[in-house]
Symmetry: C2
Subunit: 325 residues, 2 copies
């Protein structure tokens, strides 16, 4: 079997998650990691490192590039540029800007006759397609998305910027009362505050004013002011021991009514020890889809909504029909 | 907006479920119900009834036919025949025979330049595609399917055939211990007996030998012998009051490992007050997909694995990208 040759652009947590996912897929091999960093060391001994300025040297050497950059500034530039030269996959997650990103990527992908898959992972990604299947079957109803329990990198960063804070981790936690009502099919109206709690673990400098730090956190606009927020001060040792992981998860739930008021509840949920490793695993399955679609003559930019699910699997259509339907 | 004109072939529980689902979709209208029964009365006053022998009189009058027959004898004949003349959707659920059914339907559908969608509903259907997404992302792991709590029509029928039994309902119930282990990511090995219980409610003739009936049930090969089965004898009144619904549901769960042994749990679950109404609702969303694919020039037989999810929704692609991704 000819293996799918993959490059990873960006070698942070997500890039490393993709790297370990590729190892679990015998039909794929990591050929190169592209990075702006000089002298980068990577885990896969059989792959090479390439500086981002030399990325076009990979033309003809890879089947697909998985772009592991940030959605704020990296992906809006990298994905359109790279889609002209390679089949690409990204995890662009700025929901409001997805339509614009799709347009920006579609033109160069068409020009280069490549397949670009954007905004995959779990939200956007598997959560999105679960919303679509459930709402298509149950057009009359309510949909809910709960995130967590999991680490919000943005909220953790916001706490770390407060003077006197050495380290911090913020967990987003769905509120049990709300989840229970939704799972019972009660279709409650829920405010932001009703749905999630924010739990913060904070390491401070010696002699820091903890009351002031706590107050700064819980009143921080956009991040915490609209939530019930708990703040616990811990030592660096405890932080390392209990809060070094990057777990996440959540649930997409739709409640609909059928017939004369019968209730249907559809739920898709994830519980992930490692958010970047799972996101990387999803990206890898869509990298396979990108290659297959390219081989079948497709080109342009695609989201999870436009991709026939069978392209994701390494198994043949016949095998899927006989074992997984 | 030009509405999608739908016909239903078969007017049992599933056909009626489709009928009520069509009412919830403003882009669709029920035009006809096809049946072998003379003098059939249907709920939708604006639709006509057509005898099955005259089904071809609907040519040119409908966009898609939803075939609501049984998988044992009806669908293997009806779907290939009707696919030559109409876009069709069925819920063929004999898992082992799906590949054969697909081939038998594909040829006439291609000949007639129609789109046939087979084996949709929830299992096969939404459960199948959930298995596919989860296994594609997590190739190393274990998948589990639990059914229930819900009514098994086949098992209920088997009990009703026992002499002395007037009425019976059998619920398939997932075993909590097993579900908990799977949800905890323990990846247990589970036998048939470990996964489900069978709970039976039975109404008997006066003077019937209940001990003998109980024994006949719990030792019945294939149906009950391999399970923990409970049998409760109740009155016809209690039966009507508490056991007249057709609820069902279940869960597809995949546990995978990422990185250095991090656990990921992916779960899709359903809780349905009415199994046929929900199945009918899913069929209707795939009827829309069949029409759209036909309009885009597709023909042949498709399963849920081959259909881009956006075809299911009445919303435009642009609306889906900006609201549901």
């Amino acid at each position: 079997m000819k293996k799918i040759k993959v490059a990873i652009a960006g070698y942070g947590n997500l890039g490393k998650g993709v790297e370990s996912a590729i190892k679990q897929n015998p039909d794929m091999e990591l050929v190169a990691v592209v990075s702006r960093r000089e002298g980068l060391k990577i885990n896969t001994k059989t792959a090479k490192t390439v500086l981002y300025k030399d990325v076009l040297s990979l033309k003809g050497q890879i089947d697909v590039m998985i772009i592991c950059g940030g959605s704020a500034t990296d992906l809006p530039e990298m994905t359109p540029f790279l889609a002209k030269h390679f089949n690409v996959v990204d995890s662009f997650d700025n929901h409001a800007n997805i339509p614009k990103h799709r347009k920006n990527v579609n033109i160069p992908a068409k020009e280069g006759e490549n397949v670009a898959v954007i905004s995959v992972g779990w939200d956007p990604g598997l959560f999105s397609v679960s919303r679509l299947y459930a709402e298509s079957a149950l057009p009359q109803g309510e949909s809910y998305t709960f995130w967590g329990k999991g680490v919000s990198q943005g909220h953790s960063d916001a706490i770390r910027r407060i003077p006197g804070v050495l380290n911090a981790k913020q967990y987003t936690i769905p509120r049990e009362e709300a989840l229970t009502k939704v799972r019972n099919g009660e279709m409650p109206k829920l405010s932001t505050k009703d749905k999630h709690l924010r739990q913060c673990f904070v390491v401070t400098e010696e002699g820091a004013d903890k009351d002031k730090i706590r107050e700064t956190i819980v009143t921080m606009p956009n991040y915490f002011a609209d939530y019930i927020t708990t703040v616990e001060f811990i030592t660096e040792e405890e932080f390392k021991k209990n809060h070094s992981g990057i777990p996440h998860g959540g649930s997409v739930i739709r409640t609909g009514k059928t017939g004369d008021g019968n209730t249907c509840n559809v739920e898709f949920s994830l519980k992930l020890d490692s958010n970047p490793e799972f996101t990387g695993s999803v990206l890898v399955s869509f990298a396979r889809a990108a290659c297959r679609m390219k081989n079948e003559g497709f080109s342009g930019c695609f989201t999870i909504f436009e991709i026939p699910p069978l392209y994701l699997s390494s198994k043949s259509a016949e095998e899927l029909f006989s074992t997984m339907l």
